[in-house]
C-alpha cells in the first residue's frame, strides 16, 4: 500500500535521537513529516525504554519523551516498519519501501511512503571482533547487554565480564552493576588514559567519564586498561573467559582464566549507511577508517533531497546525533520554503542556520573524532584467532577457510567473500564485514545491499505489482 497516497515534505528514517529531533524541527516549521522506525517505540539505541515504566535512568530521557509527544501531534509515525530500500521516482520524489507485520496474524505486508525529501537517521550497530568461542551463548555485544537492560529490564547475567575498547564500555558496566550484576572487570584493550591524555577529551568528557568511574568504584568494579578477552570457553553456554594483558599493539603478554556466565563485548560501532549508499550518496572515511555518509554544513548528502544525521555521518553519541538531526530538520524546512518560493539559486546555497547550533555541532564533532583516535582497533587482535575460529557466524566460516581463499589468490575482501562466503548470510556482513576487511588488510568498503532488511518473497511480489503510486495532494 502507498501510505495515504500522500507525498510528504520530509520522510525521516530512524526514530532515535537524530531522527526525532530532525522530524520535530521540520514539523514545527510547517512541513508535513512522516517518521519511520522498525522498533515498536521511538528512542533508537540511546533512548530505548520499556513499554511499561519504570524507565531506565537515562540522562535526557524525560525531554526526549516530551519531544516524541509533540511529534506525534504533528507528524505521521510509522513504527514497526522496516525500510528495505529507497527509490527515486521520475519526477524526483523518493519512495521509501517498507514492510510491516500487523498483529492480526495476516503476515508481512509491504508499505510505500513517498516524500520530496529524505532524512537518513539510521544510527549504528556494535562492532564486535571475532575470537575463539565468541559464538557461545552468553557472549553478547556491549550494546546488546545495554538493550536488554534498557528496553526489557533484563540484567544480562550474574557474573559478567565487559571487554573491548571505547568509552561506551563504561556506561554498560555501570548499568549492569547498578542493576545487580556482579561485574568482574572492564577490560579496555587500549591505554584507557586516552580520555585524559587528549586535550580535547580531558576538557570535554571529564565530567561524564568521572561519574561512571565513580559508579564503578562504588560497585568495586575493576577497570583494567591494556587487557582484553582472548577466548570464551564453555560447552553449550559461556562458563569462563581467558583474559590477557596486552602490549600497546594488542599482542598478548600473559593470560588468566575468569569464570563468568556472561560477556559483553564491543570494539566501537559501525554506522548504518546502506540506504544512503543505495541512493548513491558519497561516503568518506571516518577517523577509524569506517565508511560514513559525507554531508555538508547543512547535513546534506551529495544526492539532491537527501539529508543525513547522527551515527551514519560518523559515530559521535546521542548529543551530537540530536544536534545534527535538529540542523538537518531546519535545513530541510528552509529548502521546502525556498522551493515553494521558486528560489532555486538560494535553495542551492541554503539559508543560514543558527550559528550557535552550528558551532556546537562542530565542537562536538571534533570531540567525537578525538575519541575515535584515542580508542583505535589495533591489528594485534588478529593474533588471538585460531584456525577454527569462526570469522563469519552466519555462514560458519572459520579463519582457515579465509586463509585458503587467500592462498587461492583471493587477495581482497570482495574476492574472499565470493570464494569463502563470509558475509553472504543473514546479517549481510554487518557483523563480519569489518573483521574480514581487516584480515584482508583493507579498510571496510561502503556496504552494498540492494535489500537492506530481509523481506518475504510474498511481500516483495506485492510491492512490485503495486500500482505506480499516484501523487497525493501536495
Amino acid at each position: 500500500m502507498t501510505y495515504d497516497l500522500m507525498t510528504y515534505d520530509l520522510v525521516v528514517i530512524g526514530g532515535g535521537a537524530a531522527g526525532v529531533a530532525g522530524a520535530l524541527s521540520a514539523a514545527q516549521r510547517g512541513l508535513r513529516v512522516a517518521l519511520i522506525d522498525s522498533g515498536a517505540r521511538l528512542g533508537g539505541q540511546y533512548f530505548r525504554h520499556p513499554a511499561v515504566p519504570p524507565h531506565p535512568a537515562t540522562s535526557g530521557l524525560d525531554r526526549f519523551v516530551r519531544q516524541t509527544r509533540a511529534l506525534s501531534e504533528r507528524a505521521e509515525l510509522l513504527l514497526g516498519h522496516q525500510v528495505w530500500s529507497v527509490s527515486r521516482e521520475p519526477g524526483g520524489d523518493l519512495t521509501v519501501h517498507c514492510v510491516t507485520t500487523p498483529g492480526d496474524g495476516s503476515g508481512e505486508r509491504p508499505v510505500e511512503v513517498r516524500g520530496r525529501r529524505l532524512l537518513l537517521a539510521t544510527g549504528a550497530h556494535d562492532r564486535p571482533l571475532p575470537f575463539p568461542g565468541w559464538d557461545l551463548p552468553g557472549v553478547l555485544t556491549a550494546g546488546g547487554a545495554q538493550a536488554l537492560l534498557k528496553g526489557n529490564g533484563v540484567v544480562a547475567g550474574q557474573r559478567v565480564v565487559v571487554a573491548g575498547t571505547g568509552p561506551f564500555l563504561l556506561p554498560v558496566a555501570a548499568g549492569l552493576a547498578a542493576a545487580g550484576a556482579r561485574v568482574l572487570g572492564v577490560h579496555e584493550a587500549n591505554g584507557g588514559l586516552g580520555l585524559a591524555r587528549h586535550p580535547v577529551l580531558a576538557l570535554a568528557k571529564a565530567g561524564e567519564a568521572a561519574s561512571y568511574a565513580l559508579s564503578l568504584a562504588r560497585h568495586r568494579v575493576p577497570y583494567r586498561p591494556r587487557t582484553a578477552v582472548l577466548a570464551a570457553h564453555g560447552g553449550d553456554r559461556l562458563e569462563a573467559v581467558t583474559v590477557a594483558r596486552l602490549d600497546r599493539d594488542w599482542n598478548v603478554l600473559s593470560t588468566r582464566r575468569v569464570a563468568c556466565d556472561t560477556l559483553a563485548t564491543g570494539y566501537g560501532f559501525t554506522p548504518q549507511t546502506d540506504l544512503g549508499v543505495q541512493l548513491g550518496c558519497d561516503t568518506r572515511r571516518d577517523a577509524d577508517g569506517s565508511p560514513v555518509l559525507a554531508v555538508d554544513d547543512r547535513q546534506r548528502t551529495g544526492v539532491p533531497g537527501v539529508w543525513a544525521a547522527g551515527e551514519p555521518t560518523g559515530v559521535g553519541g546521542w548529543r551530537l546525533a540530536e544536534l545534527e538531526g535538529r540542523l538537518a530538520g531546519l535545513a530541510a524546512a528552509d529548502d521546502a520554503g525556498l522551493a515553494a518560493a521558486g528560489e532555486s539559486a538560494a535553495r542551492e546555497a541554503g539559508a543560514a542556520l543558527p550559528e550557535v547550533l552550528v558551532r556546537r555541532r562542530d565542537r562536538m564533532r571534533a570531540f567525537a573524532r578525538a575519541l575515535l583516535e584515542a580508542y583505535p582497533v589495533k591489528d594485534g587482535w588478529q593474533g588471538w584467532l585460531r584456525d577454527d575460529t569462526l570469522v563469519c557466524r552466519c555462514e560458519e566460516v572459520p579463519l582457515s577457510r579465509l586463509r585458503e581463499a587467500q592462498d587461492l589468490g583471493a587477495t581482497d575482501a570482495r574476492s574472499i567473500k565470493l570464494l569463502a562466503r563470509p558475509g553472504m548470510g543473514w546479517c549481510q556482513g554487518r557483523i563480519c564485514g569489518y573483521p574480514v576487511a581487516c584480515l584482508a588488510g583493507e579498510e571496510p568498503a561502503p556496504p552494498r545491499r540492494p535489500v537492506v532488511q530481509p523481506i518475504t518473497l510474498a511481500a516483495l511480489a506485492e510491492d512490485l505489482s503495486a500500482e505506480p503510486p499516484t501523487g497525493g495532494p501536495s
Binding site: 520499556p50 536488554l148 526489557n152 557483523i431
Partner: protein, 80 residues
C-alpha cells in the same frame, strides 16, 4: 503483572513489553536453535536485530528475530 509463554511446552514468565528473546534470556534459556553446519547453539548476540543469531520459531511461523519480536500471551516457542 506477568503472563506466560512456553518453550517446548515449558512455561516462561514475561513482563508485558518484553521481547521473546529477553524473556527467554531472563529465564536462563541462553539458546533456542542450532546452526546448519556445525550444530552450534545460538541465542542473543547483538540484541538489536542486526546479527540474526537469535532466529526463533514462534507458533509454527517462519523464523523471526527473537530480540525484536514482542512476546504475546500464550506464544509457543519451539526449538530445533
Amino acid at each position: 503483572m506477568t503472563f506466560q509463554i512456553t518453550i517446548d511446552g515449558r512455561p516462561v514468565p514475561v513482563t508485558p513489553g518484553q521481547t521473546i528473546g529477553a524473556a527467554l534470556h531472563a529465564a536462563g534459556v541462553r539458546s533456542w536453535r542450532t546452526t546448519r553446519f556445525g550444530g552450534r547453539p545460538r541465542g542473543l548476540f547483538c540484541g538489536i536485530g542486526v546479527c540474526f543469531d537469535c532466529l526463533v520459531t514462534v507458533n509454527g511461523r517462519p523464523p523471526e528475530r527473537a530480540c525484536l519480536l514482542e512476546a504475546r500471551p500464550g506464544d509457543e516457542v519451539t526449538t530445533s
